[in-house]
């Protein structure tokens, strides 16, 4: 069947060689399935505990793209996540206009480029972990509705891109186990990606005006506004900065990524998180090791005391050791063990636990 389609396509290209450019509908997809088990409930893992987690790492994505004419294309990506009870969401839905060879303008639903792995956050096949370390990859939403510009550049051995975006996020905001209603306005940011040989770097800055509604009863943030103007969530500007360095020579690869989140309100805690990861590739097998940590910062004085009293505050680190086996050019099998140490959880002393995970990632 594949052969037939292929020969048909060759025949078509041969018959009309000048319209070779791909104007057909392209469909690509990815699927990850995973299972995990913690050795105790002394630490907190998203979607898993000592009775196992068989849903949280399951993700199905389907992407459709269509070149409309020489300069315009449409892309849509539907993602169904086990972590969201398999409700399907458009992670991406945008129209691209290629203004020049090196300048793209996109409009629609876009992935927010917070992190190095943001663009392919859910495509497990594209990285070695079962899931990106949650200490750093902690922002609970990943898409924004808006517009962006990407300018690529290349000079000698150096190439890269600058991306600018502007939009608004209206949806759920999960924080320390509770879900809030969020309206993040004037959401904007800039990203600079640079590659030179085996080295790469990424710098990004983001900001938005946060309006949080519907704090669920029992959440630390419910009623926190009564503590004074510093605790308001009515459009104060929050900022996020990120820096990453990468190296990959085909055998050894490394990434170091550092991030800092600074809330304009005392209702949530500012924090810093970073990771370093190393992977060694031996043919179809990759072995990797990662250290990641995240630390909330209380404000000084009375505000900090209130933050602690209502039960805000997490400080944790993880060590991940894992193996990835590419048993086919489009399928990867992964095993990993994670030691998670929660120095502090919900403002009080925490504990530690191990999480064992296995996953299969496919792209098609």
């Amino acid at each position: 069947m594949k052969k037939l389609a292929l020969s048909a396509c060759i025949a078509a290209s041969v018959a009309a060689p000048l319209t070779f450019a791909d104007d057909d509908l392209r469909i690509n997809g990815f699927l990850s399935v995973g299972a995990s088990m913690a050795d105790s409930n002394d630490a907190h893992f998203d979607g898993s505990d000592n009775q196992g987690g068989f849903k949280n790492d399951n993700v199905l994505g389907l992407q459709f793209s269509k070149q409309i004419n020489d300069s315009t294309s449409a892309t849509g990506q539907l993602v169904s996540r086990g972590a969201d009870d398999y409700s399907t969401e458009a992670a991406w839905a945008f129209v691209t206009y290629a203004a020049t060879d090196d300048l793209d303008v996109r409009m629609g639903r876009l992935r927010i480029p917070f992190f190095y792995y943001s663009d392919f956050l859910e495509v497990g096949y594209a990285y070695n972990w079962v899931r990106p370390p949650s200490e750093v990859y902690r922002l609970p939403f990943s898409s924004v509705d808006g517009i962006d510009l990407t300018q690529r550049f290349s000079s000698g051995d150096i190439d890269g891109s600058v991306q600018l975006y502007y939009g608004r996020y209206n949806g759920d905001f999960k924080y320390d186990g509770f879900t809030y209603g969020a309206d993040f306005r004037n959401f904007t940011g800039i990203t600079l990606n640079t590659n030179m040989g085996n080295f790469g770097s990424r710098l990004s800055y983001h900001q938005a005006e946060l309006i949080i509604n519907d704090a669920p009863a029992g959440s630390p943030v419910a009623g926190i506004g009564t503590f004074g103007p510093d605790f308001q969530m009515t459009g104060q500007t929050t900022t996020f900065v990120e820096a990453a360095l990468t190296y990959d020579n085909g055998t050894s690869s490394m990434i170091a990524e550092w991030t800092q989140l600074d809330y304009g309100t005392a209702a949530f805690l500012d924090d810093t998180a970073w990771l370093v990861a190393y992977a060694h590739r031996l043919g179809d097998i990759s072995l990797h090791a990662t250290y990641s940590e995240q630390k909330d910062e209380y404000e000084s004085g009375a505000n900090g005391a209130i933050q602690k009293a209502v039960g805000l505050g997490v400080e944790e680190s993880s060590i991940i050791l894992g193996m990835r086996w590419d048993y086919d050019s489009s399928t990867a099998l992964k095993f990993e063990a994670q030691y998670n140490d929660e120095t502090m959880y919900a403002g009080v002393d925490g504990d530690s636990a191990m999480l064992y995970s296995v996953a299969v990632d496919v792209v098609f």
């Binding site: 292929l6 020969s7 396509c9 060759i10 290209s13 041969v14 060689p17 000048l18 070779f20 450019a21 791909d22 392209r26 690509n28 990815f30 994505g61 992407q63 793209s65 294309s73 892309t75 990506q77 991406w92 945008f94 691209t96 060879d101 996109r106 992935r111 663009d119 392919f120 495509v123 096949y125 594209a126 290349s154 190439d159 085909g250 179809d284 590419d326 050019s329 489009s330 990867a332 792209v363």
Partner: protein, 140 residues
């Protein structure tokens, strides 16, 4: 080693011709005005980092089918990446709408045919399959 190679070709007579060590040629149409391309340029075109030939005309790379010996040689020698690495590279671009891999377009004969008929297409074939319809711009 020689003995091993020898017995190998004896065993696999049907594919012996592809096992025999031969050069691979990166080709464009005879009517394409570029004369030679260095490895960096070829690599940039096949990784989607450059969309044009040095003379400014549009470049459309095509791959051979997955599993072909020539394709593996090209990936390793010119792009410096294994099949899995390339798949991972493209999965990072495909799923962000930032690029699509070169289209798998058959074997030496099929690629040569496509290249010969369209001055924008660039491909690679076993050097033994080169004829006057195409122009060699890089060999390895």
């Amino acid at each position: 080693m020689k003995l091993f190679k020898h017995s190998c070709s004896a065993l696999l007579i049907s594919v012996a011709s592809t096992i025999a060590v031969a050069d691979t040629s990166v080709i464009v149409s005879a009517s394409n005005s570029n004369s030679t391309l260095d490895q960096t340029t070829v690599s940039k075109i096949f990784l989607g980092k450059a969309k044009r030939f040095p003379d400014g005309s549009q470049a459309l790379p095509v791959d051979q089918d997955e599993g072909s010996t020539v394709r593996e040689a090209f990936n390793t020698s010119v792009l410096g990446k294994s099949d899995s690495q390339l798949k991972s590279y493209w999965s990072r671009l495909i799923f962000t709408g930032k690029g699509t891999p070169p289209k798998p377009s058959g074997d030496d004969a099929a690629v040569k045919d496509l290249v010969a008929k369209n001055p924008n297409i660039i491909g690679y074939i076993d050097s033994s399959a080169v004829d006057a319809s195409v122009k060699v711009v890089h060999t390895f």
